[in-house]
Symmetry: D2
Subunit: 188 residues, 4 copies
């Protein structure tokens, strides 16, 4: 992984789910991800709070905004100030989308904290046909970034193909995002 | 009400909650609103389906997108094609906002139907500090319009003051909205 | 319907969904039912508050306990004191059952009010294999009665067959209920 | 803790939240508890799957029944067959109770698996006045046991006093439970 990263110059984000492996993972990854299922795995949070790499903390699928920020606080108070929050949808009764993307959480968190927050519309909606519009809406709501799943051929993807953008769709997204970032006063 | 409307030239939107009063209300209002609590009041839906005025149908606070569209179908199939949908937040466990504004529903409904859909960020969030950002995000997500509560002096409003914009905030919103509407290819 | 009732001596419960028909329905039905979708149809509530027949008020599928009691209050304050409440499940993320039966609501409402409350495990679970156990649990939680769907041949039922008990299952339920009613100090 | 256990002959249940401490905790505890926040902490599940002590697995506060059983499967497939499930309430919009106790999950899980399942009405409701009735309902629904918080003086409890039973209330509960266990054919 580290090798591919050197060749491609792409930074590596890897999930760590076990406090015992945090140190090892942090040697090879550029960003450590804490998944939604581990948002309240407090020992893991404390462990990534001790390293010197950015941590991408995903919101639990039924966590309140308060709980999300309290989990971030675990990492911050352990010494690691490089916390990036990620809204990735919450559980509701709705069945057309996998989760319900909570963009007011993004806006509220921007008001409450200085931490960067990004949005994952691919996981949140679980539907390719909503990824572009929800990406645009996320940036408009104040999101500092996006996680977009892309695949050269989504129909043949081993996993999550139905929520991945094809390369030309990704290109469309980037073109549509540009004027929005300008409109909300952000530079890219 | 009709009189004030004539003087101000502002169109009147009024909620009808009783099938017996639909005919009367439609004589004075320009748009008939069906509130979230009545989204599945099928007799009322059929009644407003018989009149020749636009109907603003608000999504039930725990209604799926499918149920929302099926309620619209009740009106359409009774003969009234002028249905405007309105997303106004759904119930979740979140306590920081009154409801959770579901912008992916807006985008999905734009894909599934030809009906106009607007968003009510004031009711959905219940917080003045989120109204501007959620309005921008709603338009970015594809919303055809917004319902914004405004009050000359929100602190003294008889109801819903905490979610109403002051006049200068409304003016700020309009200025911020303009470039977004341009960015998503809409004209105002 | 009235005729069948005379012949069989079974009382008739019928849903009224339109305030204009309340008076008519109340002439033929022994109990007027207000469905979950109309729990906050306030004109309908006021209308059934004026008649002299018991009203069976079903809880809205996303209504809080407070809202449920406030809807009952609409009927009571219009003059009709014969209100029977009915818990029939609330919407959650769970997909194995149609709704989530909220038995703590039953117990809490018994503490808060003097109104009778009954439970509808057939609609709440949507699964025949849970109806018997949830009926027993409902009575144990303090429920004053049950609505059980029964069909001579559930496999061939025109609607809701998958949640209806066959006659012999109903007989099993009655046998199992008897000792529970004794155990919680109720007589049948 | 071990010492107190020897003196009192009460078995010890302790939560383990870190895979690194499972072995240590299992030396002193009679049962290892996995808390709701760690229900999908898969490394922890695999770790407790390797020990020879019973594991009490609490349902995540927004986990489906399927996910709950899949988490149990992680422990079982790692070799430890002594899994006890615990329903402790799920998150909904209801605000009168802390969580919504899902007793149909108990009944459904009894149908689907051979694993014992117990219920925690104290945490689920967060209200002392509901603990007795929900305990009775839980046993009626098929629960194999209960976790009841008791305190000699709940008003002075350092934590969770508002949901703890006083000793005389606990005694009342035990008396009320006895006929229910008889009624559902269980022996105590």
């Amino acid at each position: 992984m580290k090798e591919v990263s050197s060749i491609t110059s792409l930074p590596v984000v890897t999930e760590s789910i076990d406090p015992r492996q945090v140190e090892l993972v942090s040697r090879y990854a550029d960003i450590i991800q804490i998944g939604a299922r581990n948002m309240q795995n407090f020992d893991l949070l404390k462990e990534v709070g001790k390293i010197n790499k950015p941590v991408l903390l995903k919101r639990g699928m039924a966590s309140t905004i308060k709980e999300f920020l309290m989990s971030a606080e675990y990492i911050l108070s352990s010494g690691n100030k490089k916390v990036i929050l990620c809204e990735r949808g919450i559980r509701t009764f709705e069945e057309e989308t996998r989760f319900t993307l909570d963009l007011s959480a993004v806006s509220l968190i921007k008001n409450l904290t200085h931490l960067p927050i990004i949005v994952d519309p691919s996981h949140a909606t679980g539907r390719r046909d909503l990824v572009i519009s929800m990406s645009i809406a996320a940036i408009a709501a104040g999101s500092d970034g996006l996680i977009i799943e892309v695949h050269p051929n989504p129909q043949e993807a081993l996993s999550d193909g139905f929520q991945s953008l094809a390369l030309e769709e990704f290109s469309t997204l980037m073109q549509k995002l540009y004027p929005i970032t300008q409109a909300v006063g952000r530079k890219i």
